[in-house]
Symmetry: D2
Subunit: 384 residues, 4 copies
């Protein structure tokens, strides 16, 4: 700690000898701001986190960690987001992170966060994990869903799993504020749960036969090149994938059941849409009371989300387009009711990389650091 403090002071007092000289961010404390380490900085989750924190009044990035990009100057590998001091991406060393940061956002492939997190917690760093490693309260359930990872990892951190908080701020705000580890929800669960939970909580819909037909842009597949995500392949096409048994099914059901207080069984089908960002979830459920109107159901949503600025409920007859929330941390919800069939149709649009990933992570950080949840987060889109 002493070394770092010295370093911080010296950096604060001494002007750089060469203004184009790059440096690590470590120890770059901005007075009054909490320090955040971004691990996996050049992936989409890391990039969004970094970008969002550039404008944040109370949080600043103090460590950029990466694996393949370690040792490289930031501006040379990410010229689309040049940083004034052009830091060097650092290897992911927990001691360094412990010295440099109060919080860490882990944006890594599944199976890495569970190895890194205990060491960070030991060093006093509170963690927001964007992967699936801590999204299940039960390690056993995680092992059943993430079979391959479970076999290669042989985890025994059941206690840690049960202590992690599911980072859906509109529903777990107080717990998130106190948490040492927050598991940011998946993009599909975020979009699907926000419109669904109010109706489950109030017992207005049947808990079986729920259909979630979801559509995502290709950035949801991450930045590591895959043939199916090439523009030449994915453009001018829509297709389902992971039909029956997609991992997000159980994640959605877990949270739905906690809120419903009973078993919930649903069908979840994701589709790949030829666009960069955006996620739309269309949810079908059977109303228990056939007399409910679209206006009634809109009121149900509005009542629950009235004081949640990251959720907007549209008036009846206005249906959300993902473009309306692009580059924002907002979920736009709409409800329609078919009195002929008794079906409730819920629509929910988010930016899969913001409210569906990194923005929600920052929203959790805000709560953990004592800020209002929407602090520093964009809530209005640039249209078109």
């Amino acid at each position: 700690m002493v070394i770092i403090d010295t370093c911080t002071i010296s950096r604060g007092l001494t002007p750089p000898m060469d203004s184009r000289m790059s440096s690590t961010l470590t120890g770059m404390a901005i007075p009054g701001k909490s320090r955040v380490a971004v691990i996996g900085a050049t992936g989409y989750g890391g990039l969004q986190t970094l970008r969002l924190l550039q404008n944040h009044p109370g949080l600043s990035v103090s460590f950029l960690g990466g694996d393949r990009s370690a040792g490289q100057e930031w501006n040379s590998i990410c010229p689309f987001l040049s940083l004034a001091d052009n830091p060097v991406v650092e290897a992911v060393e927990v001691d360094r992170i412990g010295e440099a940061a109060d919080f860490a956002v882990l944006s890594l492939p599944n199976g890495l966060a569970c190895q890194l997190t205990p060491k960070l917690l030991e060093r006093g760093v509170r963690v927001v994990d964007l992967s699936a490693d801590f999204r299940y309260r039960s390690l056993e359930q995680w092992s059943q869903v993430y079979v391959q990872e479970a076999q290669s990892l042989n985890r025994n951190d059941a206690a840690l799993c049960s202590s992690a908080v599911y980072g859906l701020p509109e529903w777990r705000g107080p717990d998130i504020a106190e948490a040492t580890i927050v598991a940011a929800p998946g993009c599909f669960p975020t979009a699907s749960l926000l419109p669904l939970l109010p109706f489950l909580k109030q017992g207005l819909i049947e808990t079986d036969g729920i259909i979630i037909d979801a559509k995502t842009g290709t950035s949801g597949g991450g930045r590591v090149p895959k043939q199916g995500m090439l523009l030449a392949e994915a453009s001018e096409s829509i297709a389902p994938y992971g039909v029956v048994g997609h991992r997000h099914t159980s994640e959605i059901e877990q949270m739905a059941q906690e809120v419903a207080g009973q078993s919930v069984q649903l069908q979840f089908t994701p589709h790949l849409v030829p666009m960069v960002r955006g996620l739309l979830s269309t949810v079908y459920a059977r109303l228990r009371d056939p007399g409910l109107t679209a206006e009634d159901c809109t009121t149900v949503l509005q009542a629950i989300y009235r004081h949640h600025p990251c959720v907007e409920v549209l008036p009846v007859g206005s249906y959300p387009a993902t473009k309306w929330v692009r580059h924002t941390n907002k979920a736009m919800l709409s409800v329609q009711v078919d009195t002929r069939t008794g079906q409730l149709v819920l629509m929910s649009a988010i930016d899969n990389l913001i409210k569906g990933q990194a923005g929600q992570g920052v929203q959790c950080l805000n709560l953990m650091a004592g800020f209002a949840p929407e602090t520093g987060l964009p809530l209005q889109a640039f249209y078109p």
Copy 2:
């Protein structure tokens, strides 16, 4: 007729004096080919029909009719599909059509075909209508669904409606072959019915609670400029529209009920996808026999469509992308079963302008003219 015959002969024997001279197509009979009038030639339906018939061994376009484009040389208004003899688009006059054509493909806004068709039939021209005017056997039902059109038109052609054949060739082939008027199905009904009908016919699924979540490219909105269909608006976005009560709902139910032999009630939700062409329908239904597997259900589809070259059933686990059928007259189907929930998930991809519109129209023409249904129709995509 004599005049026309003479004209035909003279055109066949005499080379044009000026090769750049434009002309009408009227009477351009190609020996051994049936003559087709394309009405509404510069809209997307007309353009596809015209393009498909360029390669057809037994049908040739003998009349190009349009409203706004009447009097203009084809190649000057459609340089992307230049025709060797650069015909002039003609006004839609039924006498001229009667002389020039054996068949007419009507690609017009709703409410026009029902005015034009009786006059064409009188002149011996058999009609394939791409609009919704004749899709209902009952004029009364049409009037309930197309309320605005019904009010302004005040139709009294109930007999004609009931005589029209619903142009889904895989299910109404013999009737189409004999028909004088064929109503080509809508794009959503085509994609949704093809996978659904076999299960309804065999009584394998519940006839209520069926969910159809459909996704279409923007060309489905036609060629007349609309703000919401601008690239700047529709690109990088997906959104639902027409939620609850979309007109295609009743069209799908009508045909579903005919095949099921009982009432069928379904929920249909279309979505606009940021791509030019392609339509994917994801259909959810509850299996009556929970023991059926995906393999069983695939066999059901294969058995029905084995001898239908415009339908391809994919093996279990392979899900159709709309790109796989782009620019073809093929529907690609796939089935999955969730044994946990008892849900059947049907997936169906078509090109909305070909199998979903003009290609299916040509498929009907083929049957009407005595050809194999797939004659002259592309069945393999160019990938990517």
Copy 3:
């Protein structure tokens, strides 16, 4: 003025009786903020201006004017940019604007601003015009370029034209600060002039034979529906348009000549690119001194733009993508030199609706209102 002040006070002190009640914005003075009228609010230029000013520390929108949308509640017509007080769009009445605003941003088709501006100036409203009406110092030249508009308008405001300032802040900053009327440059001229002017100013390139090959997203065509701008037409295609004699040619030459101090003759060819936003200009010019390297030329640009935060000069070998500046007011420039041919290749990427239109308008407003030019303007993109 008294009326307005009272109104302002009463609105400031009295809470609205119904929080969902909509209202006009007129007179909504935010203490310490200059008041801006946005005219043509629902077009792309207006929408961007409105969006950018939502976050502005020193400017606030006090009047929303529109023609077709007059009388409608904002949130019902633009749900993608809902405003807290849901104002009503007002008819464009100059007295009202004079009362409500210190500045007006005119985002209208060519030929309207020249009619509106004199009346606004009379009422003490300083104008930023996003159209071409005041981009030429000489009314005569304008009349030669905008022939049709000139014939129907019969303008005689030559003095006003010559007093208008060309709103390229990096080159006309002090004049803009003092101006009563600023003509914001076209999108193509902005992107093309920024890299070109330094070399013309320093006499490093030949002033004839300059080639500007430019590429724009379709939002440059505006929000009024046009067939060629439909997603179905413009997607999956690139095409040139306005080849030889595009109006922006003379606009670029005018400014180029002012800076070069001599005649400049160039070839400008725009292309339509299948994307919403973004404009790339690739400029070719012959170096006078064949010994200059890419590094030398990069230094030329860096020296000129060092203190201009809305321009970023990339290091040699890094070429700008329009995505890197999307939704920002930044121009990214890069230079390459071909020592074999003696050609200088300049590349310049902007967001056509921000730095190419509304953002530059706000940049001008900033100078006019005494703020730093980049105040309230986004300078970092969200990637991807």
Copy 4:
């Protein structure tokens, strides 16, 4: 050979025991058709070749060779182009190819064709190579341009290089018909040379200062996943790349010089466009005779290409969009002249994977096998 012949006979006579059984294509001679081996079948070049030959009246695919996909059933890896007999992709063994094919189309990364070709020629197989290995008549020049490949390969096949024919059928038809090895041109050279060569041949333009600003869809980058070609990265963006010194510069200059009969020096800049297919080349050159009009120059092109059905010259004022030639083997050309600047502006649109690659390869095959050049090739687009 005996084994193969037997196999051929038996396959011809004996129906397969299991209709779903897959098989190799080897020896599948279709009477009257020349046999073509497609090497690199699952890349974009191979896929296009395979698709184009499905409809060919005189050529049939008799061998599918691949590296990574060897041993796999075709329909399982390419369900978007299912083949009736579901062949197995074979390893690239020259003896097998020699037995199975009269011609081979090599669609491989640079540096492989030059190793494979001599062995194929020995076995009597005539080769169309889609890579750059044989595009230069001089091995020395190839070594200067493809430096890395040259260093690792240490080629000594200068005689083979000089015997290879540059496969631009409109300009090298008779040579191609006789060739044993044809080097299909690159996509950029094809699009750029077709409009440029007539003017060079007739001495109408200056041979220095030529600017080629070219734009390509992302499929030009191939099917191997690369980060920059992901939809998430490449969509909604345009950017230059390979500025100054791109390898296609020298390829274009080589052919331009052969036709001009003198040295030609040009500037070539490619750009990546957010679309799957399509390539537009905008070429700027200075007219030697300033009195030439756009009509004159259009006549120049028309005179040269009158009898070449794969090239279409548009009338003055009509500019080609890449969509107009998508999925076709046609190049669409247009000319404009700026009498003010003396510049000639040439525009040329192709489908980069068809006329820019595989279609041109088939066009060469046609000539080699004695067919008309356009045999079996699509020449009309599906619009939109």
